[in-house]
Amino acid sequence: MALLDVEELSVTFARRNQRPVRAVDGVSFSVDAGEVVGLVGESGCGKSVTSLAIMGLLPKQPGLTVGGKAVFDGTDLLKIDDRSRRDIRGRDIAMIFQDPLSSLNPVVPIGIQVTEVLTRHRGMKGEAAAKEAAQLLDRVGIPDPKRRLKEYPHQLSGGMRQRALIAMAVACQPRLLIADEPTTALDVTIQAQILELLKDLVRDSGTALVMITHDLGVVAGMCDTINVLYGGRVVETARRRPLFRQPRHPYTVGLLGSVPRLDAGRGERLNPIPGSVRDLLPWPDGCAFAPRCTRRIDSCVGEPPALVVTHDSRGYRCVNPAPLPGAPGEEVREVVPGSATPGSVPAQAVPDDPPAVPGLAATPSEEDVA
């Protein structure tokens, strides 16, 4: 059995006098121990909300409904009470956030913030905690950890801060780490270092890692399995190699095609996916990606496409997938019909929104959803 099994996770935000927004719409994936799983997608596709829902960190407000299951080691994280959830957080599951500066308390020295976790979950105090904290900082590659423990977050560089946050996250050797765009706020050179560090930690400790990112480079370098999200649903799931070699869903194809390439000719233009996440179709009415899709056919609209699972455990949610080169006899193993709750709209497909101008519409930030 997998370490974490997310089944049909859905998150809906009800709004006053408006149709509810469905930020996550039946996302399923599983994470095995020691495995690195990527959740990929552009802003607003529900990847951060998915992670916050698993952690139970979504702001408790009236109108928030979380459905489905997130089974971690036999317990459904969505059903347990706050007390046991707090015990699990930081000890069994830890999270690394996007912006290391704002995720550290500006007026508290690093050392206190690291030892806090040790005190909370491992009951360490005083000298022992300080020693362990120094070791942790050393382990995540912060030089001169004794001195750094006494320093404030703003005295550390961006990379150091992210390392400190990682140190806090791995302090109790959690079995699952969720990294929500851990390198977005960092320089490219630092990004590589942080990714190396995460890789090392995963390899050394057997920790499973859920990597949430919009950066395909990060995915290519780290993940074993990749789930591509669009409009709150998984549109394609595959192991790393097949996904990069032969993407099936047109969205994945578009994502891969829009990455700027160093070997492209100088005159060549970039290949963005036309439109923005705003022009998506509500899932119940068909494929959310259809308005932006280059392979759109008539049957895209009308009914939500089912998840097609092929013989090599790949899956895609598309009625007209990109063809496999040189593999005519494709064996479809299973077709999972897409469930949809009528009466709700996916995030961003807000009916009263102004019509989006393709390419010009501002992509809503993650905060709009979260």
């Binding site: 952690m55 960190l57 408790k60 707090r86 015990d87 699990i88 957080r89 930081g90 000890r91 830890a94 999270m95 956030f97 912006d99 704002s102 995720s103 550290l104 308390n105 500006p106 007026v107 508290v108 206190i112 913030q113 806090e116 976790v117 909370r120 979950h121 320093e151 404030y152 005295q155 946050l165 806090m168 996250a169 302090a171």
Partner: protein, 322 residues
């Protein structure tokens, strides 16, 4: 590639060294604020005024030329109120006598201590009660869920009640209720500032509760009480401290007002600027200076606190930080 001349290179090296030293020293929020305060002329003026005031209030009473309650003017027959004779400044009595023949200069200096005491204690009372209510409400609203919101709403309605009354009226009612005394003045003036502190700390804490580091701490399983005390509260204090400085100014003025209205220390022999101001009223026609001295002293002191407080507000404002 351009060649850098020796002189220029020296300069660059020096800059780099300075930058490195800056980095080395490391500046916390307060150190940074202090540095910027020193560069602000208003803050310096305020600080100088307050230093002088503090010095006078603390050590002044040991060096006064005459006893502040000694009615020497009447004893020596110099002051004859009936005939409208209240002598002004002279070499022996720099600010002259008051209507009871006491040395005004000595009374001003000893009064500084009373005024400071009233201001500080009143502000402390307001800060303590206000911060307690505001802190509990803010933590409850920011982190406590539905039950917390209920606690917050209850506490804040109480604060709204206090806020609905005009401050001086509230102070007068409290003072009248408790009977005139110095302690009464302190409590009354302190209570008036409670809503301000409570609302300020609550708002600040709610804002901080939504920040990323709270989310990060929550994701690590840190308990809510710990998050409220160790993370949210320290980050919310700056505006409250600024407000305390500003409240010192209004507290002094309000204490003077209460004394003036006769709700202050019933023993009018004890020198206090507000009492002196009230006492001077019947004699405005003969010796207006008797009212002007304490009035100017109150104004300058309040100005000092306000200048420093406003400068601190600017220095600590995260939006204005570079």
């Amino acid at each position: 590639m351009t060649i850098i001349s020796g002189k220029k290179r020296e300069k660059i090296d020096r800059l780099a060294e300075l930058a490195a030293r800056d980095e080395e020293r490391g500046v916390s929020l307060w150190q940074d604020a202090f540095r910027r305060l020193r560069r602000n002329p208003a803050a310096v003026v305020g600080a100088v005024i307050l230093t002088v005031f503090l010095l006078v209030a603390i050590v002044g009473p040991f060096f006064v030329p005459y006893g502040p309650t000694d009615t020497m003017g009447i004893r020596e027959g110099v002051v004859k109120v009936g005939q409208g004779l209240i002598p002004g400044h002279s070499a022996e009595h720099w600010l002259g006598y008051d209507h009871q023949g006491r040395d005004v200069f000595s009374r001003m200096i000893v009064g500084a201590r009373q005024t400071l005491l009233v201001g500080v204690v009143a502000t402390m009372i307001g800060l303590a009660i206000g911060a307690l209510i505001g802190g509990v409400a803010g933590a409850a609203a920011g982190l406590g869920g539905r039950w917390g919101r209920w606690v917050d709403a209850t506490l804040m309605r109480f604060i709204d009640m206090l806020l609905a009354m005009p401050s001086l009226l509230l102070a007068v009612s409290i003072a009248a209720l408790l009977g005139p005394s110095l302690i009464t003045v302190m409590i009354a003036v302190g209570m008036v500032s409670v809503p301000v502190f409570a609302r300020l700390l609550r708002g600040s804490m709610i804002a901080q509760s939504n920040s990323d580091y709270v989310l990060a701490a929550t994701s690590l399983g840190v308990r809510k009480s710990k998050i409220a005390l160790a993370h949210v509260l320290p980050n919310s204090l700056a505006p409250v401290i600024v407000q305390a400085t500003l409240t010192l100014a209004t507290a002094i003025i309000e204490a003077a007002a209460l004394s003036y209205l006769g709700l202050g220390n019933p023993d009018s022999a004890t020198p206090e600027w507000g009492v002196m101001l009230a006492d001077a009223q019947p004699w405005l026609g003969i010796r207006p200076a008797l009212a002007i001295y304490p009035a100017v002293a109150i104004i300058i002191t309040a100005l000092g606190f306000t200048l420093l407080g406003e400068a601190m507000r600017e220095a600590l404002d995260p939006k204005l930080r570079k």
